[in-house]
Symmetry: C3
Subunit: 466 residues, 3 copies
């Protein structure tokens, strides 16, 4: 048996990994709830509260094998009863943990139990309750409170993702507490920018309130957004985040933008209004980024809430978002015509369509000064996903037009496991380049440092120089 | 020279392969002619009858290098003369066998000669006639008759593919003979469902006859199909099979379906009728599967009969079908909205567009309880095709949302070689997971058993429990 | 540390590589300036003239990191001043050479310095000026003049690419000089065929002049093109080359073709005229190839001049061409319906959309006698690009429906490095097939010879027999 170091392809990969394994974590994009850090010892709850209920990677797999979300304790929107016995839920999870063989979720859970909670026994039907006990016990200890884990995880910066109308109260509370953990907000205006968002009008009202600017027109909408960006920046934000179904961009005249906005306010959108307005606002957001220096992130290609039953009973972010074919070359051209060559803009692109890596994204990022490629995202945040990314992106874009890693997770305790996967995947890739004499040892060491730390820090303008 | 065990990447892969090499073959989808087994000693004919004339993988490659199909003995539709000297045809094949270097066809032929017929000499111009003699000699022996090979191949179940109007006479004859080989039909209604099929009206007349239901309306069409499904099920069928150019599904009202069907009967189809009706019938077929429990297979994306000259002179299935770009996320939504979450449905998807693996199929199968992914199909039933499939599918879908292997072949004696390729490809993949400590030995052993045997049996509801 | 032979995966790959490393280079497609060889000792100029200014692979990467093209000495169309101090430009290049880690450009430059110029020191900020000195010194020596390098590189045939209206004066001069280097032209009519080319009317006037046929109609246009093809063939050409945004082909009636051509002459093109005319002319060019035996090359999928600022100030071929999604199965059908099965045609296809490899191109080339697949092109002319090509193409198309390698470069001194990458990538691929017993040693040796030499020679009808 030729078993190797965990996840690694060669002794050299291990050597390269070891040299950067201790570096602090840069987490420039994610969905951790800032409430966890607002108070000193925020309680995670039960093992199921911690690991199952908030993690759609886990319950989508169980659902795909016929397990009802109700039996996993996922709350229903209509308040209908769901399973409340967390030991029983945990048993179902353990009974089906074999489903995660070879998946990143399987790797993360195993690593998390072992590295964060010191539980190295294999999770099976028969070990389920003992592991539940051990976990539940840890979760009562203040050593396992969020702030303590943040410190232990050696996180240098953690960015949360916050709606444009969020008052950022937890961030304020955190700072006021004197705790030195560097947790910063990210400005995400989708709910007010995408005219077809559920409850768009409510969001606009909130925007008026929080910005103290009456948003009754496109012009005041723009002013309110600029106001909120300034507030986020003052609260430490370094970036904005935007999600769209497609990468469509187009420049509307002020008159057209006003007319569409007025139709949205009166609830009379024309067929293509929402798509065109989003496409226009992406260019506007790039313009604001040029002006205020916030890094712009753009995530493309998720068909949201594909399963209407799940949406009806459980709402959004329930594992029912499915990727679609994506096009960047033509779609982004109007934006790039305006700002693609402007060094004041950093625009980081994310895709769910891997065919765009070598065909569009790497050639674009290898040319336009404003562009950087985000790491493999969502379904591709995995060993194979990362290997394909390195394989298909770097030869054309170069390493230095990429943005390093981000964990993109709402599962706070999985953060070290996710960064560790990236660092080991990076080591596999770089080691192969060294062994084939494509880069030398000196290059390799610098590349490893950049992959683990420098690239993310520079792309998000956190002060690291090249 | 570091030569390894045949097709395997590591000693561990060999170990894993060895442990499951003896398992019986489950063949839930294929195109073997049931006539082979209807009588005791059905004769295969010459080596060319066995290996060249029925195998479009072989003659398409020879054709691509300028060899006329006539010179290979492929019969013309117009009855024009073709080569009848099978020794001469065999010589052409041997002279050009180098064309198959590195192809799955090359692997299958070599393995078939060696493992089935005991011929280990390399096929070249100079060995051609001696190998022909040896093969022809074997084919006269009753040990090499189809039923004997079926037993020797250790096939547990073999599914054929049969049109909806097929009376299944050979299946009946086989059962009546008392031979215990488990050969079952599969219900394939394309010829009556796709309104633009050649000879659709003839097929509808046959449907009326065989079902004893006068198909004069959409309503009677549905009843006749339900009648045929019941007959197939009674004859042992566990599945249906559907081919379509795209994955388009849409729900028509009964009135619209009736109107389109009436137009088809009167030969006055509107432009989009056939596409819409097929899309509607896929949903209807899913509905029937929910009711009768037959597993539904859907094969998408072949542009049939791309070469008009080949079609004119030789007809269909002559190696001139070419894949096209395929979309599932939006196209299947209407069907999945109805039945995707219904555990009574199993819908197995096949694609010729590998870009859909990671982008659409794995995310869909990793969510919807009704969905399973079929193995790599047609052009992708190969070592690289399988490696890409494991690489791109499993991390998101999980192994247990896949349907194991099927050989999909009309070349009966190639069945063991094809399953062997799958089992070795599986061993390569699992061994790599073990060596990198992503799964342990216990997981690996279960995964190998499932890949070789359990997954197919469960997906096709042949009685295996998880 | 398990460092291997340069770029190779195994000792067997090294053995296979060594056996063909000495073979002459066949360069059937490229963009080397024939002027280099017209006179005995054409001077390359400075190291920057040689390596930086003509190579958009290099300056696009520097531009992507915010370095202005002006500072690299790239001439502006408006004659505005640009950097003229080549030592300073070289220093910028060296300071940023780390950007090319893991890229083919990084590999080529390093190999070129070492193998062609004998400079093995690593290019860094501190070695920049010394390497500049060494290079500049070599470039003054007649041993490093283009003709001497051509001989030293062991180039058997080098094809240039020339517009349809090119008088081929340098080729004539070269032949007249008595120098025996075999440099042949390639007929590229894009500028007269694509009606929306910049300066199309000027090109038509040139075509009239050079062909001595007054091009005032579609009919005379066709005659003039046939005239030019005959001239190119007489000058040694073996092939034509065509670039198009899409693979669209369609057959126009003579009347429609005449009408569109007349609209083009009068400057009144309708919306879809250019696209339709190009699609028609591709079929016409295939017809001419059937008649005159010139091999037809078709390059698909580059969105040219994506960045309007770069185009305005620096013109075309400045690294701002970006690939788009490409479709072949339906698009090429009209052409293939006419000539796909005609053995007198060889049509070599190139793509920038790798998803078409396994989905469309390999199935098409594995069927149609006229089709061959060109090697991985442009952004994919790299170790990973080649590995993906072998992986995704050969199992379906077979090796013998591919066209070997071409370097496609305007950077003459990089030619050996590029062929060396292909030969080593080939060795990696073939060695793996041998080690896994998919091919034997005898097959492997023949495959290596074909990959390095025979396939290109046969595909371009340079006299090599199978």
């Amino acid at each position: 048996m030729e078993v190797k170091e965990r996840y690694l392809n060669s002794p050299l990969a291990y050597e390269l990994y070891q040299a950067i394994a201790h570096l602090p974590l840069i987490c420039p994009h994610g969905h951790v709830d800032p409430r966890l850090f607002a108070e000193t010892d925020y309680p995670f709850g039960t093992p199921v509260d911690l690991l199952i209920i908030p993690d759609h990677y886990i319950f989508r797999m169980l659902y795909s094998q016929g397990i009802a979300l109700e039996s996993l304790g996922i709350p229903r929107r209509d308040g209908a009863p769901v399973e409340t016995d967390h030991r029983r839920i945990w048993q179902i999870f353990a009974d089906h943990f074999y489903l995660f063989r070879g998946t990143p979720t399987g790797i993360w859970i195993k690593d998390e139990l072992e590295q964060v909670f010191g539980i190295s026994e294999k999770l099976t039907s028969s070990t389920a309750q003992a592991i539940y006990d051990a976990l539940a016990d840890k979760l009562t200890q203040s050593d396992f409170a969020p702030r303590r884990l943040f410190e232990r995880f050696n996180i240098e910066t953690l960015a949360t993702t916050d709606t444009a109308t969020d008052p950022l109260s937890y961030h304020t509370q955190m700072r006021a507490s004197g705790w030195p953990g560097n947790i910063i907000p990210t400005f995400r205006p989708d709910a007010v920018v995408n005219l077809d968002s559920p409850n768009w009008l409510d969001s606009i009202h909130q925007l008026s309130q929080v910005s103290r600017i009456e948003v009754g027109s496109y012009a005041s909408f723009i002013t309110a957004l600029e106001n909120r960006r300034a507030f986020f920046k003052q609260m430490g934000a370094v970036a904005t985040d935007h999600a769209a179904l497609t990468a469509h961009t187009e420049h509307l005249t002020a008159a057209t933008a006003e007319a569409i906005f007025a139709r949205a306010l009166s609830g009379n959108l024309h067929a293509d209004d929402a798509r065109r307005f989003t496409g226009h606002m992406l260019i506007e957001m790039a313009r604001m980024s040029v002006e205020d220096g916030l890094v712009m992130q753009l995530h493309i290609g998720a068909f949201r809430n594909h399963n209407p039953h799940i949406y009806e009973y459980f709402g959004r972010d329930m594992g029912a978002d499915i990727p679609i074919q994506t096009e960047f070359t033509r779609a982004l051209k109007p934006l790039l015509d305006c700002y693609g060559s402007d060094p004041r803009l950093t625009l980081i692109l994310f895709t769910l369509d891997e065919t765009t890596y070598s065909r569009e994204l790497a050639p674009l990022a290898g040319h336009y000064p404003a562009l950087r490629l985000g790491p493999p995202w969502w379904f591709f945040d995995s060993f194979n996903g990362m290997a394909r990314y390195f394989d298909q992106v770097i030869e054309t874009a170069g390493l230095y037009n990429t943005a390093g890693f981000n964990d993109d997770t709402r599962a706070f305790p999985s953060i070290p496991a996710r960064h560790d996967v990236w660092r080991r995947a990076s080591a596999n890739w770089v080691a192969d380049l060294v062994m084939r004499q494509i880069v030398d040892d000196e290059d390799a060491a610098e590349m490893m440092h950049d992959l683990a730390y420098g690239l993310a820090k520079r792309a998000y303008r956190m002060g690291e120089k090249a």
